[in-house]
């Protein structure tokens, strides 16, 4: 049983196709990075999985079941979701942001407290941050709180929509380390949308390259670097890594 399976998925916005005939199964307990230029459909793909968008054609199975569009909240609670920026609720404290869903699920008080402490420890957030408001935290700290929130109910799936995009390089490095640590401790099926190949290489075991709504190639970093499946992939990789070299040079 695959955790996430897409079959013949097409989606268009006002007649403009965004995704065309995508069929793909995401391997369980593994991080898959979805990468491509803007407009390639990578964000659309992600939002199809938690029902924020509905495909025009095709089937999506999550946890082995066809998505029930009348019971989306239940499904979404089993899927962690984090976005660019942080999406933290400014009127709630760090603790409330992280535990909101657990409260709504009527978890026991003790259990909530323990899970909160564990999560904050896991991402290296001091415990006394629980009472702070999001605006009192740095960008990197906010991002960690966002990850804690997504992990609160211990979902088997993680959808990350360019969550580290707005961080400075140093903080991003740190968060990347936390991310890899987390995946070691609580492995889950992760779909990471990014426009940064370096990040994809660093965090994902598998990389999917999208272009104009179609999959150009899926493979490990080695496969993609050594055997680009198309001219587009070759150029895309070259461009991104060139960028990397010039960055390293400064």
């Amino acid at each position: 049983m695959e955790t996430i399976a897409l079959k013949n998925i097409s989606k268009s916005y006002q007649g403009k196709p965004a995704l065309h005939q995508i069929t793909f199964s995401f391997p369980s307990n593994t991080t898959t990075a979805v990468i491509g230029p803007s407009g390639s459909g990578k964000s659309t793909l992600l939002q199809l999985i938690n029902g924020l968008l509905r495909p025009d054609a095709g089937d999506i199975h999550v946890y082995g079941q066809l998505i029930d569009y009348n019971g989306l909240p239940n499904l979404r609670r089993r899927i962690g979701y984090a976005v660019q920026g942080t999406g933290l609720f400014p009127h709630l404290t760090v603790a409330k942001n992280i535990t909101l869903l657990a409260h709504l699920q009527k978890w026991e008080h003790e259990k909530i407290k323990r899970r909160l402490q564990d999560l904050m420890e896991l991402v290296d957030l001091p415990q006394d941050y629980a009472k702070k408001y999001p605006h009192q935290l740095s960008g990197g700290e906010q991002q960690r709180v966002g990850l804690c929130r997504a992990m609160m109910l211990n979902p088997g799936i993680f959808l990350l929509d360019e969550p580290f995009g707005s961080l400075d390089p140093l903080t991003r490095n740190e968060i990347h380390r936390e991310f890899l640590k987390l995946q070691e401790v609580e492995a889950r099926t992760i779909v990471l949308v990014t426009h940064d190949l370096r990040e994809a290489i660093k965090l994902a075991r598998q990389i999917m390259i999208l272009n104009q709504g179609k999959i150009e190639q899926v493979g490990t970093q080695k496969e993609i670097l050594k055997n680009p499946a198309s001219e587009f992939v070759r150029q895309f990789v070259q461009l991104q890594l060139e960028d990397d070299i010039s960055y390293a040079g400064t």
Binding site: L52, R78, Y81, G85, L101, L104, Y133, H135, R149, L159
Partner: protein, 495 residues
Amino acid sequence: MIGKLTICAAIFALSAAGISQPIKIGCKHFNENYILAEIMAQLLEARGYQVERNFGLGGTLICYQALVNGEIDIYPEYSGTLEQAILKLDEKRSLADLQALLQNTTDLALFDSFGFNNTYALTTRAEFARANNLSTISDLRNQPDLRFGLSYEYLERGDGWGALAQFYGLPQRPLGMEHSLSYQALDEAKIDVMDVYSTDAEILKYNLVLLEDDRHFFPVYLAAPFVRNDLDAAAKAILQQLAGSIDETEMQQLNAEVAIDGKTFAAVADAFLRTRGLKPEDGPRISESQWALLGHRTLVHLKLTSVALLAAMALAIPLGVMVYQLPKISRPVIYFAGLLQTIPSLALLAFMIPLFGIGTRPALVALFLYALLPILRNTFIALYAIDPVLKKVSVGMGLTAWQRLRHIEMPLGVPTILAGIRTSAVILIGTATIAAFIGAGGLGEYIVTGLALNDMELIMRGAIPAAILAIVAELLFELIERLVVPKHLLQQQAQ
């Protein structure tokens, strides 16, 4: 047999209901009308009747309509007003003619006059009149050098100065003056003659005399109870006792006690009825102080605004949420609420009269309609303007629509929604002063009466507390905001 019994029982039930019904008395929004209405009310109360007071109604037509519709049973009216403004007759009629005409064509009756004529008059200082031998308007003809200070309104009117001067052959050239300033000018001998109403309180205050209208130019405005025919016969008989009980000088005196000495209408009416033996001397004395009256009116004002505000919140906030969730209806609903806001407040109040009559109810409805828009619009905007990323995350993490509203959208919207309620509250405190025009009471009673009397002090007596109320409301909402909204959200909003 059974049929007759049923009819008897029905008649008995009806008449019993009639007795327990209070008699509803109205009056227009100027001092003299208040005093006369209060005198009638207290007289009926002294004889055991229940009385409901709907005082300070916006004007002649509102009073008349209220009487015709049975919203009130009685109000004090003037024969000249009845003749010209209500029946719109072309020629002058005697009081008896008017009474007969009403009897034949309506269900209303104008009783015999209280005994005074409140008409236009020319006046001068008492000692100046004596020194110059002035007692009638005709006497003015031979003194072309007299300085006249007339109100602008009187100079402009069709039946005003032009007609009067022609009728009497007066040679003087009058000066246009602000009416309230004319008294001062006359008192300081800067002018010699001015126009007044014959029962104005200032006539006594400045020791003036009226120049007799010896050739009967001015229309007659005899004051009398204007009554519905279906009023209880015994009550009618009691009111007839007031016929001929007040002459011009006495009315000036009663007006002065209110306008100059600052007594309440109730206290003035009470004292009048006692001295005439129309009320037992040993009964409970009415001497409501000005402060108690102010307190009472402020309370009425607060009640009006807070009830209307709460009702508006109860509708506008849920409606704002609905409109946010159904974008298709948002435009029409908000346009409609905006339309309500553009209706001038006095007009909106007037629209309410045919629907809800006079008094508190129509005022509440009008105020309620006024309060809707700011709350509705701010609720909608508060929800609409929430950061789309937050909306997306709250959906994506699995919150139901209700949970999003309850835990995310409403808490984030609170500062904006509160600002809307605050705007409505301040608007209502201001607008509620106008509600006095349709008998809803409150601080507007001072303003309405003050406007009618051109009495700045009286206007201030209503305007200042209303302004203070508005400031207090502002401070109160600021406090609420501080208590319920985290500080950093307020700062964010300010940015």
